[in-house]
């Protein structure tokens, strides 16, 4: 019965708070109250404390008030007889536990800077990654928002053997969940079991070794808190909003292996506040009545072969997985997996051999659905290290199929092939590159499996527009060259069509509310010349998506009368946005940063911000962790632009939009851009140079500053003056 659980949780909370407070007092002595403290590269301070209490812990001295709050929340121990109601006190104790653990971990970052790697993957023998910084968080957050990751499993301890550990990890991966691993059971840690069993761990495979002790569980909760803050527009201190948001949208749960300590109970009780239940393999009491979580709160004694299924059922999650009949595991969790040199069996394309992939549409009678052919040697016919050329030709037919949809379907190859465990796919078109891992070959990989995957998944995702799919795979050079030739003409045709398409030529734009599950008041407008700020959805995607699902997240909008061509204000768009944002946003300028800019959910590739002194605009991409001339890092800027709010002067943009003729048109276009991180400037260099030339100012490219020229407005202004940047001569925008 739950008295045992609540009693233990409250006991555990006492121990944890005592322990953390002792650590804090030690730290005050050692470093003084002014010492800065925090998790690496985040704008959310200690995120659980920040989101629940609205309090910013900047230095050690700030912790004093929080510990007082912990003490206030901490209830007396439950008595053996005549107890007072204990559920609520246990939940409060669990919350106080997280506050204490967060402060404990923050001090650990100070005391032992090398304890966590602070990277996406383990490095140099250190498995423990520590808290996700905002770069990782935003990158992964997108997957929560678009549904490719419905939630996470917070694992405490380890199953009895590495084989069981690997199997459970794989099952969770197949449900598209993130797996956050903490602590140990009898000295055995799940992350170590996985590594010992040759399973790749790290953010890229969604198997995240957060930390070796139970206190790192707070990183998982902090991740959830930030999802609500960044994407849900939940305000810091709105604890109820944050908790309910997570209960309804982040499908997370705690999975505990082995005996449950008081400290684990305290963490589990805390997690219930977020609606995250606990599923245990051990014989502990259960808490079955519902109400705080969606369904049961604690379910126990679940055999290992049922535990994943049970967990998602208890959490109330439905994962739609179509079984693809191949011998390797398959799913989004394997997309980020890498095939390193030592794991490599062979590779195709990528400059090593010829490689090409292309999708074309054909007549209904020209396609034999389900046909997959491999011409040339297959894996079984070659030795390790023997590379082959490859051509993947997919032919589709369907009554609703349009040639405009070809590139969209083709673009899926990358992630679909990557979804296969043991296979790594990079690039696209005729610069594609696949690496086949030894592990995949051991499981019986054949090139035919590419065909099976593409056939199955394209049918599943695009069933509304394609009726038949056949896949031809060639590994003989003459045939590959033949396909390359065909592909070249297809690409040429396509690029021509896309190149002529502008916002003026199309009467319809598309909305995108794909992220409304996480950002309820945000709506994106996708035009031919301004793709979604996540960088993932362009106008054609919107069109195809609408054809596939006419009531789905992408709706056509008659742009209607153009009310201001320079700002990009359209009557039809305003009407739509007003309705879709439920009145939150009534005016939208498609091409302006300063006037009614587009809102963002939080998963933008980059953020544009006005630099008033420089009279210009800076843009910073998500991966740039350094300071920017705005005086804010990306993560702080993201807080200004995200959450569905319209903030003039701050706006989410995609990298692609940077080279669009419609870029910041209201503010004077590309000539207004004064600063970009070097990384981003290099990434878009080729196209950016083209655009500079197109507007008749090829010299502009070199006038755009990067962090090498400075990270303060003063430094940049000086640089701009030296270079004679045109922005300085333009009309003031502020």
């Amino acid at each position: 019965m739950s008295k045992i659980i609540c009693s233990a949780a409250i006991r555990g909370a006492h121990k944890i708070i005592d322990m953390a407070e002792a650590k804090y007092e030690e730290a005050v002595k050692k470093y003084g109250p002014e010492q800065e403290v925090g998790f690496p590269n985040t704008a959310y301070f200690l995120p659980v404390i920040y989101s629940m209490l609205g309090a910013k812990v900047n230095n050690i001295g700030d912790m004093k008030d929080i510990f007082q709050e912990c003490r206030k929340l901490l209830p007396p121990l439950v008595t053996d007889t005549m107890w007072l109601p204990y559920l609520a006190p246990a939940l409060d104790a669990g919350m106080a536990t997280f506050f204490a653990e967060e402060m404990f971990e923050a001090i650990r970052y100070l005391d032992d800077p090398g304890f966590y790697t602070k990277t996406e993957d383990p490095t140099g023998g250190n498995l423990w990654l520590g808290a996700a910084d905002d770069v990782v968080f935003r990158k992964r957050g997108v997957e929560f928002v678009d549904g490719t990751a419905p939630g996470f499993a917070a694992i405490m301890g380890a199953p009895p053997t590495k084989e069981i550990a690997s199997k459970i990890a794989l099952e969770l991966q197949e449900k598209n969940l993130y797996i956050f691993m903490h602590d140990h059971t009898d000295g055995v840690r799940m992350s170590e079991q996985l590594v010992a069993n040759d399973v790749q761990v790290g953010w890229n495979t969604r198997l995240v070794p957060f930390g070796p002790t139970y206190t790192s569980a707070v990183f998982a909760i902090g991740f959830a808190c930030r999802v609500a803050l960044a994407f849900g527009g939940v305000k810091p201190g709105d604890y109820r909003g944050n908790l309910i948001y997570n209960k309804d949208r982040t499908f997370a749960f705690v999975m505990a292996f082995g005996p449950v300590s008081d400290e684990w109970y305290a963490n589990a009780a805390g997690a219930i506040n977020w609606g995250f239940p606990t599923i245990s393999d051990f014989d502990i009491p259960e808490v079955l009545p519902t109400g705080i979580c969606t369904y049961e709160h604690v379910v126990s004694n679940i055999p290992h072969d049922e535990i994943v299924q049970k967990a998602i059922e208890v959490r109330g999650l439905k994962v739609n997985v179509t079984k693809i009949d191949i011998p390797m595991a398959f799913g989004p969790a394997f997309e980020g997996e890498r095939i390193r040199k030592d794991d490599l069996f062979m590779e195709c394309g990528g400059g090593r051999t010829a490689g090409v992939e292309v999708l074309i549409s054909k007549g209904m009678d020209e396609v034999h659905d389900g046909l997959v052919t491999v011409e040339g040697p297959d894996i079984k016919d070659i030795q390790q290290g023997q590379n082959l050329p490859i051509a993947i030709l997919v032919e589709v037919a369907g009554r609703e199929m349009q040639s405009d949809f070809e590139p969209i379907l083709e673009r899926q190859f990358h992630h679909l092939i990557n979804y296969i465990q043991g296979i790594m796919h990079m690039g696209q078109r005729n610069i594609m590159w696949v690496r086949i891992g030894k592990a995949a070959v051991e499981k019986g990989f054949s090139f035919e499996h590419f065909g099976r995957v593409l056939h199955g998944k394209l049918h599943q995702e695009f069933g509304a527009i394609v009726d038949k799919i056949q896949v031809k795979i060639y590994t003989e050079l003459p045939k590959v060259e033949e396909v390359q030739e065909l592909a070249r003409s297809v690409y040429e045709e396509r690029d021509k069509r896309l190149g002529t398409m502008t916002d003026e030529t199309e009467e319809v734009f598309y909305s995108c509310t794909l992220c409304q599950s996480f950002a309820p008041s945000h709506v994106c407008i996708i035009t031919p010349e301004r793709i979604g700020m996540c960088g993932a959805y362009n106008w054609l995607d919107g069109k195809a998506s609408f054809n596939i699902n006419p009531t789905g997240p992408n709706q056509p909008i008659e742009k209607g009368e153009c009310l201001d061509p320079s700002l990009g204000v359209f009557k039809g768009i305003n009407d739509f946005v007003s309705q879709a944002s439920r009145g939150a946003v009534t005016d939208l300028a498609c091409y302006s940063l300063m006037t009614s800019p587009m809102t963002a959910c939080g998963c933008f590739e980059a953020i544009a911000a006005m630099l008033p002194q420089c009279n210009g605009i800076m843009v910073v991409n998500r991966d740039h962790t350094g300071m920017t001339p705005s005086g804010m890092k990306f993560t702080t800027l993201a807080g200004m632009a995200g959450g569905g709010a319209q903030t003039p002067g701050f706006m989410g943009v995609s990298k692609h939009y940077m080279t669009s003729p419609k870029l910041f048109m209201a503010e004077g276009g590309l000539e207004r851009v004064v600063w970009l991180p070097k990384m981003m400037k290099e990434e878009i260099a080729e196209k950016l140079k083209e655009r500079c030339a197109a507007i008749g100012k090829p010299e502009l490219f070199d006038m755009i500053a990067t962090e090498e020229n400075g990270t303060t407005e003063e430094e940049i202004l000086k640089f701009l003056k030296e270079k004679g940047h045109p922005a300085l001569e333009m009309e003031a925008v502020m």
């Binding site: 007072l84 006190p89 506040n273």
Partner: protein
Amino acid sequence: MAVIRNGCESCADITCKSTLEVLSQDIAKNVNTAYDRVRSRGMSACLFGSSGTCCRNCNMGPCQIIDGVEEMIGICGATADTVAARNLARIIAAGSASHTDHAREMVKGFIATAKGQTAHKIQDVEKLHKLATLFGIEIEDRDKNEIALELGEKALAEFGSQDDEPITMLKRAPAKRQALWKKLGIEPRGIDREVTEMMHRTHMGVDQEYHNLMLQGSRCALSDGWGSSMLSTELTDIMFGTPVPRRAIVDLGVLKSDMVNVTVHGHEPLLAESLCIAAQEPDILELAKKAGAKGINLAGVCCTGNEILMRRGIPVAAGFIQQEMALATGAIEAMVVDVQCVMQSVAQVAKNFHTDIITTNYRAKMPDAVHIQFEEHDAMNSAKAILTKAIGNYKKRGKFFIPEKTKSDVVVGFSHETINYMLGGRFRASYRPLNDNIINGRIRGVGAIVGCDNYKYTDESHEIIARELIKNNILVLATGCAATSLGKAGLMRPEAAEFCGESLREVCETVGMPPVLHMGSCVDNSRILIAATEMVREGGLGDDISDLPAIGTAPLYMSEKAVAIGQYFVASGAQVVFQSLPITGSKAFNQYMTDGMMETYGAHWNIAEDPKEIARIMIEKIEQKRDALGINKKAERVLFDMEMRRDLGSGALSDVGCHGVAGPR
């Protein structure tokens, strides 16, 4: 062995253990109790009186009416229906008036407190702000006493309000219920006005149509439930602290052999709170020591007991029916009384002992009692004078008998706020888990057991009903002397979950709560109105109180206040079951009360004498509501995919599993 009180047909066996223990002692042999008087009176109750058809509203009569006998209508022509309805309406008016006059004192005490003129202070600022906001009072950057003063004055104005605006707290009711009241034209206006109008309309020759009379009966009762009682509860909470869970003890065994026993009997907690403070003052303790006592043992009787039990954990010695038994222990130095439910006999019982009956309120005096006026503005001195008097009696204590082992542990303090908190903690407080578990059937519904106790039926009535309900997985809320009785029965221990049906037990064990929740005194029935409204607001159980699988009962009711409570429950949409009502002499009116009201209010009165039958009716009505809500069908677990999560924001999925974010929280 039970003492059988012969000679009284309707009087039940005494089964209460502490009563039996005390009455069987030598020292109690000269004590005359209600049970004895029932016997010695030797006659049963007047048939016209108990069936509601004796009219003495004018000096042409009194007229005894016999329904259906043409010659036996009133001299003025009043029919049985008119007479019974008028009589019942006057009972309601008297009950409402009692709550109202109690509430008025509390509001005045509240105002005095806000002005700093009492020993008390504003304690629950959160609740103060909530109430102030409801009354349209600015709270930003204002001192709590300033807000409290404005709130107190606005509250006081509601009593005598003369415009036709509805009283403020009606706004707390579910929207649908408010609309119904408006449509029926029964929104209470000034609180006092409704009692006055009721008395007027029942005067000879005014309102002579029973449906119409009961419209005002409802309005008058609503002015009590959503007006005076609610004001009293809320302002008392703000002043003395909103109850939180705490442990305490009930029954006569709480009296102490080596301390000065002072019992506080009546209803208004102002006096009792002051006594609590004064009893801890060093000079008073010193005085007690000098008298040879170890200290002062305050213990409650009747609803004053419930007030200080809920807020301070001070033990309750007895409910209404045991007030004489408490004195019969010979161990009480003083019984301090204020208003309501004090039997005149206590002064006579006290004559057998050293005990003083101290009346403290100018409104409530009796022969053979000592009167020490309790002055709110000089509360500490009044309280000390009372205690000094009691201490003075300690040395005079003669033979006494305390049934020391007869007492029961209780966990009390289940205010609406406590329930809200205990189901989700500080960060997730809500009624969601209650609604969820009602919807999924672990809890079938909620039964309120309220009211008095009474010699007429077995002492165990409350316990029998409660046990039957919890066995059938119905959560029980209790107030008043009914709550004291259930506490004595051991049902307010958390361990009592073992007496529940399996699924209610599971919920009780999850929360750590007893299956019977003590919600306070009889004015605190307003807490039940708020709890019911909160259940409606939380969603999934219909959109009005009349949709909820919830029902009330006041078995063993004695006071007119219980009838007022019953009527405000019914007018608010909640069914009630009573053991009797004085309306049986009128066919049509009786029919209207026990059935016809359904059409008007979505609820009606039910009558059943046998406790088991009462429980059966309650269970049956709850199941009917469940059927109507469609929650008796097995619901499949809803699993959420991405599409469904996307729809959460639109509120389209409010009727499935996790209840999304639809609606404000």
